[in-house]
């Protein structure tokens, strides 16, 4: 089962390799990983997507917590949360397909952020499923490049997760 986990960590030397090394060393899956500083001094937040059965997820949670640099671990699975991913997509756009591409961009409330005579670069934000759906529609035109950020999540409701 797919789990999205937020990890608040000390923003210090080598912390990313501690987390990624934990996953590779113990054979845990890691589908995506995003890291950036938070509003709190010295704390970074990682959002990672992983898969595994209950036993593995329990170990992942415990092992993450065991790291000295880890301040807090929140597994959002089963919680109410908002999930967003950013993608930049460079797609062929020549002659007749240019208008079609723009129509699709419009429907998805995406944006064209770079234009050349032969291509559009499209920016889209949304849940990973929405991005997948857009990619499906653009694929026939010929996609040249995709960059995805991996999802970030935040819990719904008034309460904030802090370190």
């Amino acid at each position: 089962m797919r789990h999205t986990i937020s990890v608040l960590v000390e923003n210090e030397f080598g912390v990313l390799s501690r987390i990624s090394g934990l996953f590779s060393g113990r054979g845990f899956n890691i589908e995506s990983l995003c890291v950036a500083p938070t509003m709190e001094e010295g704390i970074s937040r990682m959002t990672l997507v992983t898969t595994g059965d209950d036993r593995i997820l329990e170990q992942i949670n415990k092992q993450l917590n065991k790291l000295i640099s880890t301040i807090k671990v929140v597994d959002f699975t089963g919680e109410d949360y908002v999930e967003r991913e950013l993608a930049l997509i460079k797609v062929n756009a020549e002659a007749d397909s240019r208008a079609e591409a723009l129509r699709i961009v419009d429907i998805f409330r995406a944006k064209v952020v770079d234009v050349t005579p032969r291509s559009y670069t499209i920016e889209i934000t949304g849940a990973p499923a929405k991005i997948n759906a857009l990619l499906e529609l653009l694929r026939p035109m010929g996609i040249k490049e995709i960059v995805r950020s991996g999802p970030v999540v935040i819990g719904r409701g008034a309460k904030g997760v802090t370190g």
Binding site: V9, E10, G14, G25, E58, Q59, Q63, L67, I68, G163
Partner: protein, 565 residues
């Protein structure tokens, strides 16, 4: 007052109560060594950095204090890795200080540069690269705190050369700043209440005890709990000195080379109380058959150990002293129920006694050739109860665990988790430094001994009277045993063809060498060694193809043992 980085480091060590460090100098730590020159801290110069770390480990295992080792950057630092990994696998509190190239050169493939934080990340509890002199004292404080608290473990401090000479005012911090690290010591009282109920309902309980018992120094609490409830106790390799092996409730070791009665008890029990143990594969054998008739209570300070390998009915996270103490106290309040429990479990103890009688621990003795087990029994007889025994890795290690009958905590120092050949001699060195007056004996194989035999020089230099007993079978015995049992006796690369004159080797270093080739020489040799001041190496020419039994073949359930005939 302003101090240099290396002076700050040594001042911090003194603040932590460190009186002895083990190490080896080099360019990237030359400033530290310069300050050590007139420091009250004693430095023991081993002949290899791996040995310095094992010595610090032996010091830590025998005392419970944090062991400290120092090495230079690059090759000195990489030489420490096996030692660090050994300590990590057995949760030994240790701080290792490595020199590093100056900060501006880091990442440049500079001379003798190695990314020690990268290399040791998976085998340390935590590690630090000091990047600013202002962080140094805080870092050392936290390193010691992390090493000794919670589930202990080794911590590495990588200290660049320029930081060692930078100056800063020294003040030892009072507090650590580790918002993400708060080990749980007190067991949850509701969980402990549930444990009390489960214990009282048991008909066939067993205590399965691991190395945590020594780390937590909860030996008294364990004995009291076992005696109050009359629960038999089986111990892992790491816990053989954690519970007196001559106690009527002691079942000895379990697992791959466990006793018949320990393995049968675990297989048949209806309640397994795991205490500071981690269900290692050498203990469990085939995991789905391990204690599969039992409810499991697992008490451990490290939550990741719980439910890692087996399902657990009742997890209790906490320090063993606290949890076992409370469990005992709560059971003491229920005199009638405990009395009932003891009656309910009488049949169980009777069945175990039958197993013990039908298949006792033993070996076929001989008048013509020295049996290795016999040597171990004789060492036991001739040494004091508080003698510290270290081992290397192999058959001699298993026989020591099986036959030595340890009586006192922290008297058996052995590399359990990593199984590091070459551990025993430097570990004995470290233990002897900690306890100059006690008998310290390294029980060794001829193969393992040669992995750190250079430490004979250190023993002689510091007049450390460690006694070494090499059970020489001219084989890498444990591997040979596997080849005999599972590879049709194809002894590929396990015969140590070259006969070594160990007596001369000892003498070359200025130690005493003794050899026993006949059964009747064994006792005399051991006694002579014990009576001879200074380090003594004893070589026993033992039966070459003796096997360690019982043995659970890999992948088999622990009740499927190959037994001694």
């Amino acid at each position: 007052m302003e101090l240099t980085g290396s002076q700050i480091l040594l001042a911090c060590l003194q603040e932590e109560g460190v009186d002895t460090v083990f190490g080896y100098p080099g360019g990237a730590v030359i400033n530290i060594y310069d300050d050590l020159f007139d420091s009250p801290i004693e430095h023991i110069l081993t002949r290899h950095e791996q040995a310095a770390v094992h010595a610090a480990d032996g010091y830590a295992r025998s005392t419970g204090k944090v062991g400290v080792a120092i090495a230079t950057s690059g090759p000195g630092a990489t030489n420490t890795v096996t030692g660090i990994a050994t300590a990590y696998m057995d949760s030994i509190p240790m701080v290792v200080i490595t020199g590093q190239v100056p900060t501006p050169l880091i990442g440049n493939d500079a001379f003798q540069e190695a990314d020690m934080c990268g290399i040791t990340r998976p085998c340390t509890k935590h590690n630090f690269l000091v990047q600013d002199i202002r962080d140094l004292a805080q870092t050392v404080k936290e390193a010691f705190y992390i090493a000794r608290t919670g589930r202990p473990g080794p911590v590495l401090i990588d200290l660049p050369k320029d930081i060692q000479v930078h100056k800063y005012k020294f003040k030892y911090p009072e507090k650590v700043k580790l918002r993400g690290y708060k080990p749980t010591y007190a067991g949850n009282s509701r969980q402990i209440d549930k444990a009390v109920k489960m214990v009282l309902q048991a008909r066939r309980p067993v205590l399965y005890v691991g190395g945590g018992i020594n780390l937590s120094a909860a030996n008294e609490q364990l004995i009291k709990l076992a005696e109050l409830t009359q629960t038999p106790v089986t111990t892992t390799l790491m816990a053989m000195s954690g519970f007196p092996q001559n106690h009527p409730l002691a079942l000895g070791m379990l697992g791959m080379h466990g006793t018949f009665y320990a393995n049968m008890s675990v297989t048949e029990c209806d309640l397994l109380i795991a205490v500071g143990a981690r269900f290692d594969d050498r203990v469990t054998g085939r995991i789905d058959s391990f204690a599969n008739k039992a409810k499991v209570i697992h008490i451990d300070i490290d939550p990741t150990s719980i439910k890692k390998n087996v399902a657990v009915d009742l997890p209790i996270v906490g320090d063993l002293q606290d949890v076992l103490g409370k469990l005992h106290a709560k059971l003491t309040e229920q005199t009638d129920a405990v009395q009932q429990l003891i009656e309910n479990t009488a049949d169980w103890r009777a069945s175990i006694a039958e197993w013990r009688q039908s298949h006792p621990m033993g070996y076929k003795s001989s008048d013509t050739v020295i049996k290795p087990q016999f040597v171990i029994e004789k060492i036991r007889e001739l040494t004091a109860d508080d003698a510290i025994i270290t081992t290397e890795v192999g058959q001699h290690q298993m026989w020591t665990a099986q036959f030595f009958q340890f009586r006192q905590p922290r008297t058996f120092l052995t590399s359990g988790g990593l199984g590091t050949m070459g551990f025993g001699l430097p570990a004995a060195l470290g233990a002897q430094v900690a306890f100059p007056e006690r008998q310290v004996i390294d029980i060794s194989g001829d193969g393992s001994f040669q992995m750190n035999s250079q430490e004979l020089a250190t023993l002689v230099q510091y007049r450390l009277p460690v006694k070494i007993a090499i059970l020489n079978n001219n084989f890498l015995g444990m591997v040979r045993q596997w080849q005999q049992m599972f590879f049709e006796k194809r002894y590929s690369q396990t015969c140590m063809e070259l006969p070594i004159d160990f007596v001369k080797l000892a003498e070359a270093y200025g130690a005493t060498g003794l050899q026993a080739a006949r059964v009747e020489d064994v006792e005399k040799t051991i006694q002579t060694a014990l009576d001879t001041p200074g380090p003594v190496l004893m070589e026993f020419k033992v039966a070459r193809e003796e096997n360690v039994l019982p043995m659970v073949p890999a992948g088999k359930a622990i009740n499927e043992m190959v037994l001694a005939s």
